[in-house]
Amino acid sequence: MARLAAATIIILLTAAPALADDCNVFINPEDCENTAWTVGAVATAAAAAAAATALTRSGTRGPLPRDEGECGAEIHDLDGRLNREVHALETSIDRFNREALGLDSQFARAIRTYRDEGEIEWLSRAKHARRKLQEEALPDIQRGIPEVMALWRHREAVYQHCLSRGMLPQGTWRREAPSFNDLMPLPDWSEDNPPPFMEEAEAEAGVRTPPDHDALIDSLGKPGTTVIDPSNAHNLGPPELVGPGGTIKVPPTAPMWASPLDGVPIPRPTIEGGTVTVDVGVVKGTVRVTNDGGKLAISGTYEVPFGGGNVQDVKRLQKMLAQINQQMREAGMEVKSIDASGTTIRIRTGPIEGGS
């Protein structure tokens, strides 16, 4: 048989060019490309191959079962595969939902750490955990669901095939289509878009971020925590110094060099290690807020044209601070502690101990 096959191959390979039409001359290969029988043979064979491909089952699945034994064996095999794949997919979806749910509290803690301590590491970890879920776990699940459904549809088709021919083994059951839990949406929290429940929790705990001077006085006159951060620090000065829209209001008694600053928007200060730094061009200063026996105190330095000094020596600032402390005392409050270690200053106030 092998010799016959080898001889056939040799004969075919060494055969003269087809002696048909112009092929008998074979001046060049195109002679044979353009005869009715060669073009027709390739065309018809290609059409037959296309039809055969379209009409026969592809892949590794065999033909449909032909008797009760084959029906039982194929359905048993499909059930085994379905059980395994459905279980694996359910486990993946449960794990995904559990981890997606855990991301909420992970982000809340990470954002709080970032706000309070300027620590970015926890936020990076939370973002990495979300990216891993989104880029690895989610595509696996989204790919797995149609595959399992395709397997179930095949099982259903085999079941119906066997049922319609009376070839179902006794006790074979019709399997319902598998269904899966919905996937939890992934939170998209960041330092600029914190989770809403975190804001609510802070409000319940008496954490307030006053937007202006009046709100600051009001907040310091209540028990709780007043937060000063770069978003509100520039707007907390008294109305005689801060104009509408957060602009500088220069008093008439101010030196001549300060006049050009009148109406200039107050730039956002930076806060590092609890120290507020303000830079308005000709005026620069750093201010640190401390607890002086239940009262607010400030310290730091400033620079102005032709001079500079310590902020605690600036009478206007001291007068302003004295007014704030006086209003706090009138409200029966005192400073309990000041946490000024990161990018925020958190002033905790409470009732004066043993006070009136």
């Binding site: 074979f26 290969p29 064979a45 026969t56």
Partner: protein, 195 residues
């Protein structure tokens, strides 16, 4: 009786195309190399198919659409290597896809009617013989319909034709041959399967 193996049909057609390619182009590297590549792809089609099904766009295609995409392969071969200067490339491609697609879509509803025929056919003809008959039948149809005479069949093995003919202007014959070969393929290979 087992169904005809897709691999066997594929290998037979690749061998036929390789021989026809050798006959018309006399380029051994293309004929043998092309056949080797095609046969490797056919034998590895399970592995390739499983990986392709991991691509969502492929997995979401209905099975019929996936088979029709695969059916384009021999037709593209015809356009590139078989059509010569006959101008029949587009006609064969379009009509063959219409025939293959029509048969693939109609087959599930015809299965019930043809169930008795399938059973009798499978009893009379072993699967390997049915697989061989499809390309053999296609060659016979091409000589009879496109060329015009079965008597010139020896030309396929180095003989001479008595009635030389040009492929140009034979669109109707090509169309008839395509329809006949498609129907022959269905009658010989189709197995009843779930829709």
């Amino acid at each position: 009786m087992a169904a005809v193996s897709g691999s066997l049909i594929g290998v037979l057609f690749v061998a036929l195309f390789a021989y026809l390619d050798w006959l018309t182009h006399r380029s051994l590297p293309v004929a043998v190399g092309g056949a080797a590549v095609a046969m490797t792809l056919i034998l590895a089609r399970g592995w390739i198919g499983r990986r392709l099904l991991q691509v969502p766009a492929v997995a979401q295609l209905p099975p019929v659409a996936r088979r029709l995409l695969l059916a384009l392969v021999p037709l593209l071969y015809f356009m590139v290597r078989g059509a010569g200067t006959s101008g029949a490339g587009a006609l064969v491609l379009i009509l063959s896809m219409l025939v293959a697609g029509g048969l693939a879509l109609a087959a599930p509803s015809l299965d019930g009617t043809l169930r008795g025929f399938y059973a009798a056919r499978n009893r009379a003809l072993p699967a390997w013989l049915r697989a061989v008959l499809v390309p053999v039948g296609a060659i016979l149809i091409s000589f009879l319909v496109v060329h015009g005479s079965l008597l010139d069949l020896p030309a396929l093995f180095g003989g001479q034709t008595n009635s030389p003919a040009s492929p140009a202007g034979r669109e109707g014959r090509f169309a008839l041959a395509i329809i006949l070969s498609g129907v022959l393929g269905m009658l010989l290979l189709r197995e009843e399967e779930p829709s």
